[in-house]
């Protein structure tokens, strides 16, 4: 594959699946600095993955696989910026979209963020309508394991929604 071909595919993916990447970044990164850091890391990994892409999987599955693996590794890699004070000093590369103000979705993301790093991936894939089989392929765990995790995640989200009663939930 030539570099121009790689570039074209990368542009096309970024254009079509930007929302997917943003969802993962938001689910895994606590603050603006971390979101920038993770976003950059995911883009780099996707760029590198382009020549390895074979048509046997859909682009969405492929991108989820690369991005979630990157996010999971990134989460365990180092101490992240958990101090809110650092946010004021460095302007963020990713800025929250002004139109995005729905409290219920914000609440849902917060709940996803409370899950462990593997369950976060499962929750994202579940909400995006992936089958157990596809999730198993993306995450490299068995379908039965996926089933167990999904049950647990669903129970937790439902319980939290009943407990909270705020944010319009």
């Amino acid at each position: 594959m030539t570099e121009i071909e790689q570039q074209d595919i990368f542009h096309q993916w970024l254009d079509q699946y930007k929302a997917l990447l943003f969802k993962i970044v938001r689910s895994y990164a606590f603050n603006a600095m971390d979101r920038d850091d993770l976003f950059q890391e995911i883009l780099i990994q996707i760029w590198r993955s382009v020549p390895a892409f074979r048509q046997d999987a859909s682009v969405t599955t492929w991108l989820y696989r690369i991005s979630l693996n990157t996010a999971i590794k990134w989460t365990g890699k180092e101490q992240k910026h958990t101090q809110a004070e650092s946010l004021d000093k460095v302007p963020s590369i990713l800025q929250e979209h002004a139109l995005q103000t729905d409290e219920r979705l914000t609440w849902l993301y917060e709940e996803i963020y409370q899950l462990n790093k593997i369950d976060r991936s499962v929750a994202l894939l579940l909400l995006d309508g992936f089958s157990y089989k596809e999730m198993a392929v993306i995450l490299g765990i068995t379908e039965s394991n996926i089933g167990v995790k999904i049950n647990r995640i669903k129970k937790q989200l439902i319980m939290q929604s009943k407990k909270g009663g705020h944010h319009g939930i």
């Binding site: 979101r35 780099i44 760029w47 460095v90 590369i93 669903k154």
Partner: protein, 188 residues
């Protein structure tokens, strides 16, 4: 609320763009990457020049200390002076080319990639440069009728240096690839 309701919330909004990309922050991010790349290039150039000049001069002094010129140390010293001169000339060229790049985000990034490319080439040349120096050194030691163990030990040091240099070269290549990926993201 049931899970189906949560799913509806997700479906209705999760495909909207949650973020936009802040150009100024992107500029600062790239500027810091550029600074880091220049610092690495600068340090490695100065280090190479200093090491080659110092070792070359030391070899010259050792060879003429008893008023008898020794062929291999002098040849090795000459090679090291040539290496130092090569690095110096390319450093001057690199510094001159700094003016060719504008201060836009793209210009900064192109500049950083240019410096990273230079660094990759330099580290590759320095890796290959270990081979003639190793040959000259081992040959010189062997010629002075030192034991095979000493020659072997010197050779081992050069082999380790070669692999260390290879590892360093890999780091520079990775940095260059990361910058290129960033440039591609920016062009979109």
């Amino acid at each position: 609320m049931e899970f189906e309701d949560l799913q509806k919330i997700w479906d209705s909004q999760s495909n909207q763009y949650l973020y936009t990309i802040n150009e100024t922050a992107m500029y600062n991010y790239i500027a810091s990457k550029k600074k880091k790349t220049f610092l690495i290039a600068n340090t490695s150039e100065l280090f190479l020049i200093a090491v080659n000049l110092f070792t070359g001069t030391a070899l010259v002094f050792m060879s003429i200390s008893n008023w008898k010129l020794m062929f291999f140390p002098i040849l090795t010293a000459a090679w090291m002076y040539i290496t130092a001169t090569y690095v110096l000339i390319h450093r001057i060229g690199r510094r001159k080319s700094d003016r060719l790049f504008d201060k836009s985000i793209f210009g900064n990034l192109t500049h950083a990639i240019s410096t990273a490319t230079y660094q990759v080439r330099l580290s590759m040349l320095m890796r290959w440069n270990i081979i003639p120096i190793a040959i000259l050194s081992c040959w010189g030691v062997w010629n002075k009728k030192h034991s095979v163990w000493i020659t072997g030990l010197i050779l081992l040091v050069f082999v380790i240096a070669y692999f260390a240099s290879n590892w360093e070269h890999g780091i520079h290549q990775k940095r260059k690839r990361d910058l290129e990926a960033l440039q591609d993201t920016l062009q979109k």
